[in-house]
């Protein structure tokens, strides 16, 4: 079986087959040499994999996260997207134009203040919207310099994670 992956946005290609717990696999990316490995893989708890590779014991935790699979290994979290080249892509990601940046709510909360209006020019790093969650106010900043082309955030409004707040072009 062959799958296309991105690990923290770096692409790679995984080839593998298995016989029960015994896996043969190769991962080719700019960091790995793509050589063939043998490993045993046991899903010891749901989403928790015990992998023995070259005698090393790895415990890998995988959950479905918003941007892809969250893969935790040795205290480091990677975001992994998996696509089957024979099928369509898993989720229709992307779609925002190159020049346009949408700032959406990174967590559910309440809009406390809106610091910009449509048509404002902003510098990268300038505050756009303040959202409060869990007693903490968080200022969302402009990811790049540009002009504010849309403001959906309303002071006092409750927003869900991912709701669009402001767009910059």
């Amino acid at each position: 079986m062959k799958l296309l992956l991105t690990i923290d946005n770096r692409p790679g290609e995984l080839t593998f087959d298995h016989n029960d717990q015994d896996y043969r696999f190769a991962y080719q990316s700019d960091r790995t040499d793509g050589r063939l490995h043998h490993a045993t893989v046991v899903e010891v708890e749901p989403g928790i994999f015990s992998i023995l590779l070259n005698g090393h014991s790895h415990e890998v935790k995988v959950v479905n996260g918003p941007e892809g699979y969250y893969v935790d290994l040795e205290g480091h979290r990677s975001v992994v997207e998996v696509r089957d080249p024979r099928a369509i892509s898993r989720t229709g990601r992307g779609g925002a134009g190159e020049g346009r940046q949408v700032i959406s709510a990174p967590m559910p909360g309440k809009v406390v203040r809106v610091l910009v209006a449509e048509g404002d020019s902003v510098e990268a790093g300038a505050g756009l919207v303040v959202v409060e969650a869990m007693k903490m106010q968080n200022e969302l900043k402009a990811p790049k310099s540009g002009v504010v082309v849309a403001v959906k955030a309303q002071p006092g409004a409750t927003v869900a994670m991912g709701d669009m707040l402001v767009a910059i072009e």
């Binding site: 690990i7 896996y23 893989v41 992998i51 699979y69 480091h76 979290r77 007693k135 968080n138 991912g162």
Partner: protein
């Protein structure tokens, strides 16, 4: 002894209190908001009462409802925990008026020590050290120059009405003083409609070290030594230790700070547990900052090193008991470190991370103390503080404790949301932290200057790829289990990908 105690709090501290109450064979009553029906403290208590809607103002801060519930259930005493009503003198008074014991100090002591400025004046009046400075606004620049010269540069200008850093200016020499006063005043005017500023000695790279005290209602009072709480982010402590590495190297500081803390407490006739916070400068001078008239979040590190149970002591004292320990009985052994685990994303500006926890792995083994308020399947409510758990360790030396904490953080795991667990592991590896060279700006400097090492092991990448692939194959072949939560995630994911 009491027969039934109401815990007027939520989260990990409510759980910690319920445990202590149960160990004393007393019944516990939990209170909860509608957002907390399934919270761990409700699950664990003997009885539970709903106070109202999710906002604290409708529930955990409603003195009337809490007192009414306590009366109806025949409660003897109320423990307020920390936060919420714990330093509210009106609440303590309302308890007493209802014939219910408030497990804490007298309302009068809360009032006298509750205001920062009142507490500062009290400390000055008995000769306790405070940060030198004026507390009256500066009117005349000439007078300001004289004051600044007296206390010595650098000084700090602070807005009298202020807070949050507005109207604050550091001044390094007399040449800059007048201009800085003008700037600070106008900023203060804009921010608070009050231009008054005053001068304080600027303590550079200060340590935050606090002293735990406890006294009974029979006039006995002791201190249980210090906690070092210099590792803060946004003025919020995140790592606490006992002993302080500084005090461990200079043991005479403990007696001196302990005595200062006891003197302040005695001056207000304090009883039950309390904490005196001090700033400590590079020359090991300590200055009283404020008092917390309640149990402190970070009390476990003191318990681990002094082998005491502060909550049990609080309850015994509130029931009229005498302190079982004298100052001579208090022994400090080994070292304890605690870190506060928050639902937040250190790689994205420490934004709160909401969502349902899928796994919660609790570390065990030697020297671990976990005070947790969560469980697998719990969803952190947005209305409250995002503290999930306090993970503490004890070991014979500070060095071993750091190594143990790293081991234990490696075993701790919450999935479904983001936490600061890995951030702690990075800090624990920092040479300055290991050397005990701590100050309240430590994390800001750390975040600015130090790039944590990223795992480059190609084997890890191959292993991560394989695990994700095996999971994805299983995930797609699964028609029914987990479909609900997974679709919620995907909806959020789709929405987020618009950014």
């Amino acid at each position: 002894m009491f027969k039934k105690i109401l815990v007027a709090n939520r989260g990990e501290i409510a759980v910690r209190l319920i445990r202590a109450i149960r160990e004393m064979d007393i019944k516990s009553v939990a209170v909860y908001s509608t957002a907390d029906r399934a919270a761990l403290h409700v699950r664990m208590a003997d009885e539970a009462v709903c106070l109202g809607a999710a906002p604290s103002t409708e529930s955990y801060l409603r003195i009337d409802k809490i007192i009414a519930a306590a009366r109806e259930l025949g409660v003897d005493a109320i423990h307020p925990g920390y936060g919420f009503l714990s330093e509210n003198a009106d609440f303590a008074e309302a308890c007493e008026a209802a014939g219910i014991v408030f497990i804490g100090p007298a309302p009068d002591a809360i009032r006298r020590m509750g205001s920062k400025t009142a507490a500062r004046k009290m400390a000055i009046s008995i000769g306790a050290p405070v940060v030198p400075g004026t507390e009256e606004p500066i009117v005349d620049p000439a007078n300001a120059r004289e004051v600044a010269r007296q206390i010595g540069y650098p000084v700090l200008l602070k807005a009298a009405a202020g807070g949050g850093g507005k109207g604050m200016r550091r001044v390094d020499s007399e040449a800059d003083l007048e201009g800085a006063i003008r700037d600070a005043s106008s900023e203060a005017e804009r921010a608070f409609s009050n231009s008054a500023v005053y001068i304080e000695k600027l303590v550079e790279r200060p340590r935050h070290i606090e002293i735990q005290i406890i006294g009974d209602r029979h006039g006995n009072m002791i201190h249980l030594g210090e906690r070092e709480c210099s590792i803060q982010r946004r003025h919020q402590k995140v790592i606490e230790e006992c002993p302080s590495p500084l005090v461990a190297a200079h043991p005479e500081m403990r007696a001196a700070m302990g005595e200062a803390a006891l003197n302040i407490a005695r001056a207000v006739g304090y009883y039950n547990a309390g904490t005196m916070e001090f700033l400590v400068d590079a020359h090991r001078n300590f200055y009283f900052l404020e008092m917390n008239t309640r149990l402190q979040v970070e009390h476990p590190v003191t318990e681990l090193v002094t082998a005491t149970d502060l909550v049990r002591m609080q309850i015994e004292i509130a029931a009229g008991g005498k302190l079982r320990l004298t100052q001579q009985d208090v022994q400090w052994r080994g070292a304890a470190i605690e870190c506060r685990i928050y639902a937040e994303d250190p790689n994205n500006g420490f934004l709160p991370s909401a969502g349902k926890m899928i796994h919660v792995e609790r570390p065990t083994g030697p020297g671990v103390r976990l005070d947790n308020g969560i469980y697998p399947g719990w969803t952190v409510p947005l209305e409250y503080d995002p503290l999930l758990a306090k993970l503490a360790v004890w070991a014979e030396t500070r060095e071993w404790a750091i190594d143990r904490l790293k081991r234990v953080l490696g075993e701790y795991y919450v999935s479904g949301i983001k936490t600061n667990v890995t951030f702690f592991r990075q800090i624990l590896d920092d040479p300055e932290f290991r050397a005990g060279r701590l100050h309240t700006g430590f994390i800001d400097e750390y975040l600015k200057e130090r790039e944590p090492e990223v795992k480059q092991n190609p084997e890890y990448e191959a292993v991560a790829a394989l695990a994700a692939a095996v999971f994805s194959v299983k995930d797609k072949g699964k028609p029914c289990s987990g479909a609900k939560s997974s679709s919620a995630w995907l909806a959020a994911g789709r929405a987020r990908s618009m950014r």
